[in-house]
């Protein structure tokens, strides 16, 4: 069973996390931009419209890539960074699926892919951080949204292991989580 036959939404709707990432990205994005897990393409569209930059939006979900394309974003169906060339982007943005999920409770549809970060909440953040340095051009920047639900300190450790320094661009607290957008740059 997929999300399609339940009549439920197939594509993640922009929420507080999207707003925060858009705010950070409009402020700091430069050059050629990739948004990984673009969902509806709303953040990518903000960057393209407000900064006049070329933005490519990728998502594992073909419904999401199609919706991003309708917003005028160049949509690609992809698993994280797999089909992107080395050194191709100056800015890479990612609002990852980050909710820690009990494996027995995974519900296996497009919304689950959009929300669940596996048992740790970090199952997509970890491989993203390992590979993102490859696709960055010299002087490139990564904007990563982190929720306190995902384990802020644990994500910082993954960032350091991947050879990046970090600084906080924006942060906002909500009743159940604190959301932070980090700007990552290669160390050294």
């Amino acid at each position: 069973m997929t999300g399609l036959d339940r009549g439920g939404p197939d594509v993640y709707r922009p929420a507080e996390d999207s707003g925060l990432l858009a705010e950070a990205a409009v402020e700091t994005a430069h050059g050629r931009v990739l948004e990984v897990g673009t969902g509806s393409g709303w953040v990518a569209e903000r960057i393209a419209e407000e900064r006049g930059l070329r933005v490519i939006g990728s998502d594992r979900n073909p419904h999401a890539a199609a919706e991003a394309r309708e917003r005028g974003i160049e949509g690609v169906v992809a698993d994280l960074l797999d089909p992107f060339r080395g050194g191709a982007f100056d800015t890479v943005c990612f609002n990852p699926p980050y909710l820690p999920t009990d494996p027995d409770n995974e519900w296996d549809d497009w919304m689950e892919h959009a929300l669940s970060g596996g048992e740790s909440g970090r199952e997509l953040i970890a491989p993203f951080l390992v590979d993102v340095g490859r696709v960055l051009a010299p002087g490139g920047t990564v904007l990563l949204l982190v929720s306190s639900l995902t384990g802020y300190e644990e994500v910082l450790a993954l960032i350091a292991d991947a050879g990046f320094s970090h600084e906080v661009v924006v942060e906002e607290s909500f009743p159940f989580e604190t959301l932070t957008v980090l700007r990552l740059e290669r160390e050294g």
Binding site: T2, E74, V77
Partner: protein
């Protein structure tokens, strides 16, 4: 997709260059076509203007999932 997207995409399996075959075009936009890896020969479809660059096993999984629904 625009032809200039070729500058940033590669084969997800071996990062080889892709070759573009266009079946249908609308001005700058390539609507239907095929991308073929020049290293491993794997092919990736362009449908409704969007290249599907999932590795073949993942793509099939999703196609089967939808077909079974």
């Amino acid at each position: 997709m625009k032809e200039s997207l070729m500058d940033v995409i590669c084969c997800p399996l071996d990062k080889g260059d892709l070759e573009l075959d266009v079946d249908e075009r609308d001005g700058e936009e390539i609507l239907e076509g095929t991308l073929t890896c020049t290293e491993c020969g794997e092919t990736y479809p362009i449908e409704d203007g969007i290249p599907n660059l999932l590795p073949p096993d993942m793509r099939e999984e999703e196609e089967n999932g939808e077909a079974a629904a």
